[in-house]
Symmetry: C2
Subunit: 173 residues, 2 copies
């Protein structure tokens, strides 16, 4: 029994040391932002966090979805969001619906037009340490990721929302 | 074996006859609309069909969700929707977000305010034969169903959308 047990402890210790070294090496690069470069699979099936409508220069609808980890944290009011949380914002043009307006008899109805982009926030407190633990991603409607110039603007804009772990969207019951 | 098997056939036949009688009796009442009187459980976890924004007298956000049967039909472009499809429209006030406007530096952002009602369309071509196979339900924010006077207005308003099986909301990819 004894040698086996000692081996197990050594393996655990080694894993711990390796983990520490990886983390320490990551710490050296903590000032360089890391962005989300892959679209998380299956996001269109996630549950709804909320929706939004932006005017100004945007004229945009947002459908905000969360993976199960994010939805659970939202529903339990758990802050900060745990690692593994992913929040997706699907953006579309905000366009009038002629079909609905005909039924209402008034120009009052707006629906999502063409998709414009999908944005993601992925929580990984180590990987994305330099941007508050969140990795930011922006993919145009053609699936191409935005360039670094645009991605650099995400974190500064989310930073004021420190009290809600950099997240602006509230859960809509 | 034989008596058992005969019994089984009799039971099945009887069930068939009873089912036929029930359906026939239902047919007599087919001009009396039947409404949805129970909120379908778990609807808040369903996948998103789309969203909408109504102005006019409504100033309303809609989040439209579908159960798995409805979402599958939407994604496959299958019409009419099969029995078992349920579509939910969650309505909220369309209100400005002071929090978001502060970040944008402009009055441009709108989010869901208090919930106003949830509406359901339940497909059951027999039960709801008198209203195009769809049962209509409307529940106020307090969970109370609307009265018959309001529910009577659902079907006539959906009837012009015959080409899309009485459904106005299109699936947003």
């Amino acid at each position: 029994m004894k040698p086996k047990s000692a081996l197990a402890i050594t393996a655990v210790t080694l894993a711990g040391v390796v983990g520490y070294l990886v983390a320490a090496s990551g710490a050296d690069e903590s000032s360089v932002p890391v962005y989300v470069t892959q679209i998380p699979p299956g996001y269109r099936d996630w549950k709804v966090v909320s929706v939004a409508h932006e005017e100004g220069n945007l004229h945009s609808f947002a459908i905000v979805l969360g993976n199960d980890v994010a939805i659970k944290a939202y529903r339990e009011g758990k802050l900060p969001f745990p690692d593994g949380s992913i929040i997706a914002a699907l953006h579309y043009a905000h366009v009038p619906s002629d079909e609905n307006n005909k039924v209402f008899g008034d120009k009052q109805s707006f629906v999502p037009g063409p998709a414009t982009n999908v944005q993601f926030e992925v929580k990984d407190s180590k990987k994305y340490a330099s941007t508050g633990g969140w990795g930011f991603g922006h993919f145009n409607a053609n699936g191409k990721p935005a360039d670094a110039a645009l991605l650099k603007t995400c974190f500064p804009c989310h930073e004021p929302a420190k009290a809600s772990d950099l997240i602006y969207t509230h859960y809509t019951p």
